[in-house]
Symmetry: C2
Subunit: 385 residues, 2 copies
DNA sequence: TGAACTTCCGCCGAAGGTCGAACAAAGCCG
DNA sequence: CGGCTTTGTTCGACCTTCGGCGGAAGTTCA
């Protein structure tokens, strides 16, 4: 039995996380002998997973050879499917984007049409990046509805007609496919990209609807049925008259979602159809719209105040279409959360707008794929094969 | 860093979890050779961690020698400190209770007095069980307030005067001491004792106050500041007049806690001081009390409905003093949760009374200690020493 | 009852992995 | 230019693990 763990997968994890860039670092961190580390690194280099760069800076002796992930030869894809759009990002193994694209695409056209479109875009992006199809190792897909993560099958999604129980991964041959809810992958993208130092994060997406992705101990929390984070249908007080498409009334989404704000603006004589119209009105300085957005922030804050007490996150990130006017939204959210949550939970809590922006979902989906590929178990399997 | 699979610690984990009771089981589960397993088991036996029992049942050949945790020579303690009571359970390494006791004890007397009392009870219980003090390997303590788990220091607990930032573990020499919130240890006790098959569990304690312990992926979720699960101060709609000791109004605890129900009964001319009095009235068949308890269940259910959407647990366990009249409390909770939560989240959700009862906290605290001691890292350290 | 069969467990030589010492490489410093 | 420091590789010693073999301990069946 080895006194310390340190399989090839562990070594690669340290390299990919940036914890170690030289063989000496690895020896120090793992406690293994330098010769053993060299052997591991050699195996990783031989498999094309790691490469050496030019020598680094000397600290008084022979300069170490820097190690990093070998970014050629592999590719990963992150796919963000929304109700009306499709974004695909091709990434290398370090998470850098090689190429990306965006189209209008109705998810309601069904899985065969949509996935064929994705497949075509993948070929195009691979071409742009100059990599063969065989380089594609894994892909992640975020979809606007609940998914049984283990099988990659949508689970009674309300706005994805034709997708229920469709085995998405089987559509793509020879590549691992991970399918998850769009808000989950956005949370993952935001966490890995801008908040990697935190352990407990909530990502709140405020668009047409309202959803939440949960990062606990650095990992996505999906819950028992994969429906965790569905905060759009939490009840808010004082709006019993607002009916929701789910059949209940006073749902958060029915009073504070982009669609709800647009409807109320229309009632006030300001024609608005979607969250985008609301954003446009706010940016044009319309005070009615501004007031409604801020009020929506307060309502969202009321729900988040409960969740802060319950979950005790370090940071809440607000994204989605309406976060383009985040100053007003966040003002309402902060006001309510800091008033209604317990001091111990809010003392070190920060509530910030998304730093990753429109690409959070595609990036997060890609990261899901990369982390799956780089998991120690999978790497050990590859190296020992 | 992933631990090396098949270490002595992993072998012991399989034995303690009941996943393997023979050397053959271990070889099958770990994939290691039978001879290697024998060597591991020998080391564990030599260290007094595992013992062989008489042969088990034959499956057609030589019957295997059964293995189990060696329950002599070690002892673990679980301590449940409440506002006005102290329970101590002495357990062997398999989690069976060897001896236990209960006293009235005011936590407000301060850490020196209370912990000295605990220390004395420990000696007494060790005497009853016929084990020397040196057999005590670790202890867990549940306290009625927030704790910084890593250091074992209470963190501004409202009902524990004199305990703020007190380094509890240092009071006990030569033994590992883990300190956690009482609701957390109750959740752990309930999960390990009665719901070990589930991954995501919420334990709701309804007593004088209201709290919640969270089990996610089989582990306690404590949050960023260790204050997760503090649902007593979540706002419920329609009770703006109810002031709470936290300074806000309409807190769940202020309208549905045992103290709140007692106060309202008193207003109705039925003198009641505590949750215990409320239970007595309900058990005596008082319809006013029954109605209030059921209404409290509805209010708790309103909050839980939100948390079910957010967290998506498999099971909600209701415990605490008021759960002695759980049929009425649960009726209100179930009614609201199943009406207000999303079908996907409630479809496989069960809401049940505590199966572990009054001892959940002390048991959970002991289990916290045992699992700490049995963690693969700790066992490998012991075996390789 | 006894022989054949099955399963369990310890022993031992072979194979393979890890370690640390020794050595070579590469840059810094006086 | 020769010592000093740090890095990386080579190699034999050592240790662990593996798997076959044989003995142990029951079951099944004639």
């Amino acid at each position: 039995m080895t006194p310390q763990p340190g399989s090839a997968g562990d070594v690669l994890t340290l390299i990919s996380a940036g914890s170690a860039t030289t063989r000496s670092d690895l020896a120090r961190l793992t406690g293994l002998a330098r010769s053993t580390i060299s052997q591991r690194v050699d195996a990783l280099i031989e498999r094309g997973l790691v490469e050496e760069t030019e020598s680094g800076e000397s600290t008084g002796g022979r300069p170490p050879r820097q190690l990093r992930l070998h970014t050629e030869d592999h590719a990963f894809a992150g796919v963000d499917l929304g109700a009306t759009h499709c974004r695909v990002a091709l990434m290398d193994i370090s998470g850098d984007v090689l190429a990306e694209c965006e189209d209008s695409l109705l998810i309601g056209e069904g899985p065969d049409t949509v996935l064929a479109h994705v497949d075509q875009r993948l070929d195009q992006l691979l071409g742009e990046a100059g990599r063969p199809r065989s380089a594609l190792r894994a892909m992640g897909i975020g979809v606007p509805g609940p998914v049984e993560f283990a099988t990659g099958r949508p689970n009674n999604p309300p706005i994805m007609p034709g997708w229920n129980d469709y085995p998405v991964p089987e559509f793509f041959e020879g590549v691992s496919v991970l399918v998850d809810n769009d808000v989950n992958v956005m949370a993952l993208g935001e966490h890995r990209n801008a908040f990697a130092g935190t352990s407990h994060l909530l990502f709140v997406k405020v668009g047409t609807g309202i959803g939440c992705g949960i990062v606990a101990e650095g990992k996505l929390h999906r819950g028992a049925q994969g429906s965790a984070g569905d905060i759009g249908h939490i009840r808010v007080s004082g709006h019993e008259d607002a009916g929701c498409r789910c059949g209940n009334s006073a749902c958060l989404e029915a009073v504070a979602g982009g669609a709800a704000i647009a409807r109320r603006l229309t009632e006030l004589g300001l024609p608005a159809e979607s969250g985008g119209d609301v954003v446009a009105l706010v940016q044009a300085g319309n005070t009615q719209a501004l007031r409604l957005v801020r009020e929506a922030g307060r309502l969202i804050g009321e729900v988040l105040a409960s969740l802060v007490n319950f979950f005790n996150p370090e940071v809440i990130v607000v994204g989605g279409a309406l976060s383009r006017v985040h100053e007003h939204l966040l003002a309402g959210i902060r006001e309510t959360v800091y008033r209604r949550s317990l001091p111990l939970a809010t003392h070190h809590l920060s509530i910030t707008p998304s730093r990753t922006g429109i690409n959070a979902a595609a990036l997060g989906a890609g990261i899901l794929a990369i982390e799956h590929y780089l998991s120690p178990d999978n790497i050990n399997r590859i190296v020992n094969a």
